[in-house]
């Protein structure tokens, strides 16, 4: 699906500043964003605004940029709701809209609630005008599949809203199945794709080539695993994977853990972490270790690790590489860099559309998250199916 409408945030995105904090003189438009928007307009792509500002801000933006906006949602609700309302108003499917915002949390919220939308940072946007998604002649096979999953997702969300029980009960009601199996070499292309396209749930943050994956899959010293997700609404296929170094010591190390953000909120990461801890304990390990990049993009993964009882050593793990000089925070904010985040682009990009080029900022710090795996193993949720095909029943 090509993008038919770009929905813009205003503060620090379409405008070079914060509207409400600039007093009598509102901030000027951001020249790079206006240039990109004008290019897209010339290809027949329309624009809209979703902003946490009073409606006057949208009127100001229209005057200042010289662009026409087909819709504007100004208010303090969720941005994902604004995106959906705009798409509905314009009669567009959600996979025909792109959302541009400088705020990581807004992007995360929209990409999890509206996974079919293309979510971009302003840094991505200058590059993105060259992507197939913004070139109306190109229609990829992936786009057709996304449309199908959009319909499935919409039915699931409608029922989730009407559902009275807990999130766990909803997963059961949906007949959610998370299947965890050893990878075969046929899984290598999809695992490589996940290594490139996942950001919110990725411990390593680098592309792993297919030959490397095949080698790992065939190696007796490693355990490579794929995770599939399906429910009564549809089959999402392989949504995650991990590589475990078995070693001979008492610690098992997960050298790579990744999951598509499409699977967020559907019990997959919890299931995978519980399964990893169980199998490490059953394999005789004392500790399960997961080295993990610490960035602002994979905060959702850190939340999952915390929820699953993992901890990292603060001092030993954080390298001093605060190159930005922003001071204060010990954890580096990687959102300002040129590679600044296209988390929702898993499965959405066609060949040449690839990742934006990485900038030259230093690598973010790596922290070693560990948890003991002695004692009673964590329960697997009831919707997990493991390689033997035997359904493990929950409590």
């Amino acid at each position: 699906m090509t993008v038919k409408c770009v929905i813009w945030d205003l503060d620090h995105t379409l405008l070079a500043g914060v509207y409400l904090e600039s007093g009598a003189q509102p901030p000027p438009p951001d020249p790079a964003m206006v240039a990109a928007a004008a290019q897209l307009r010339d290809r027949g792509i329309i624009h809209a605004i979703a902003s946490r500002n009073p409606p006057e801000a949208a009127q100001y933006a229209a005057r200042a940029t010289g662009l026409d906006f087909a819709a504007a949602e100004c208010g303090w609700g969720r941005k994902s709701d604004a995106v959906r309302r705009i798409a509905a108003d314009l009669g567009l499917a959600a996979d025909a809209v792109a959302f541009v915002d400088d705020d990581l949390y807004e992007r995360a919220e929209v990409s999890s609630a509206v996974p079919e939308a293309l979510v971009l940072s302003p840094e991505d946007m200058t590059d993105a005008v060259g992507w197939p998604e913004f070139s109306p002649a190109v229609v990829t096979a992936e786009a057709r599949r996304r449309g199908q999953m959009y319909a499935e997702r919409r039915r699931r969300l409608e029922e989730a809203r009407a559902f009275a029980g807990s999130p766990d009960e909803f997963l059961r009601y949906c007949r959610t199945e998370v299947t965890i199996t050893p990878a075969t070499s046929a899984d290598a292309p999809r695992l490589r794709e996940l290594s490139v396209r996942t950001h919110q749930f990725n411990t390593a943050g680098e592309a792993v080539p297919e030959p490397t994956l095949r080698e790992l899959i065939g190696s007796p010293a490693h355990q490579v695993t794929v995770v599939r997700l399906s429910d009564r609404f549809g089959d999402d296929g392989v949504v995650g994977g991990c590589v475990v170094e078995l070693g001979s010591g008492r610690a098992r190390t997960v050298t790579l853990l990744m999951m598509s953000c499409r699977a967020m909120g559907r019990g997959v990461i919890q299931a995978l972490l519980a399964w990893l801890a169980r199998s490490a304990g059953q394999g005789g390990a004392v500790t399960l270790a997961i080295p993990c990049l610490v960035t602002h993009r994979n905060v959702p993964l850190r939340l999952a690790l915390a929820a699953a009882g993992f901890r990292a050593e603060e001092q030993a793990s954080l390298r001093d590489d605060t190159a930005g000089g922003s001071g204060g925070s010990p954890l580096r904010d990687d959102t300002a860099g040129g590679s600044g985040g296209s988390p929702p682009r898993d499965d959405t990009a066609g060949g040449s559309g690839g990742s934006p080029p990485r900038d030259n900022t230093p690598d973010p710090p790596v922290a070693l998250f560990t948890r003991p795996v002695t004692g009673p193993p964590p329960e697997l949720p009831g919707y997990v199916i493991t390689e033997a095909g035997s359904e493990v029943t929950g409590p």
Partner: protein, 96 residues
């Protein structure tokens, strides 16, 4: 320490949490109840929404300052974490 303001922060956090999870019953959540695990069951999705709202409302970047996210243990620990980094009224000292 701004102990006097923490109860107000907790009240606001309850509302944020109830919105993030879509569960009104959490409006009565005790300040000492664990957020991770059974009960509240904070996960990647609801946790991300909670952190986003905390950053917007209080200007405190919990994930940027707390590697293990220990501040998310309970509403009480989160309110204390926020209180230590703001003047109590929800504004970060020295921020614009």
């Amino acid at each position: 320490m701004t102990g006097g303001e923490v109860p107000e922060v907790i009240g606001e956090l309850r509302q944020i949490l109830a919105r993030a999870t879509g569960r009104e019953d959490l409006l009565g959540l005790p300040a000492q109840t664990p957020l991770f695990g059974a009960g509240v069951g904070l996960d990647s999705l609801t946790g991300t929404l909670l952190l986003r709202e905390v950053q917007r409302r209080f200007g405190v970047d919990v994930a940027g300052e707390d590697l293990n996210l220990d501040a998310l243990a309970t509403l009480g620990t989160l309110a204390a974490f926020i209180g230590e980094r703001t003047d109590g009224g929800g504004h970060r000292p020295g921020s614009p």
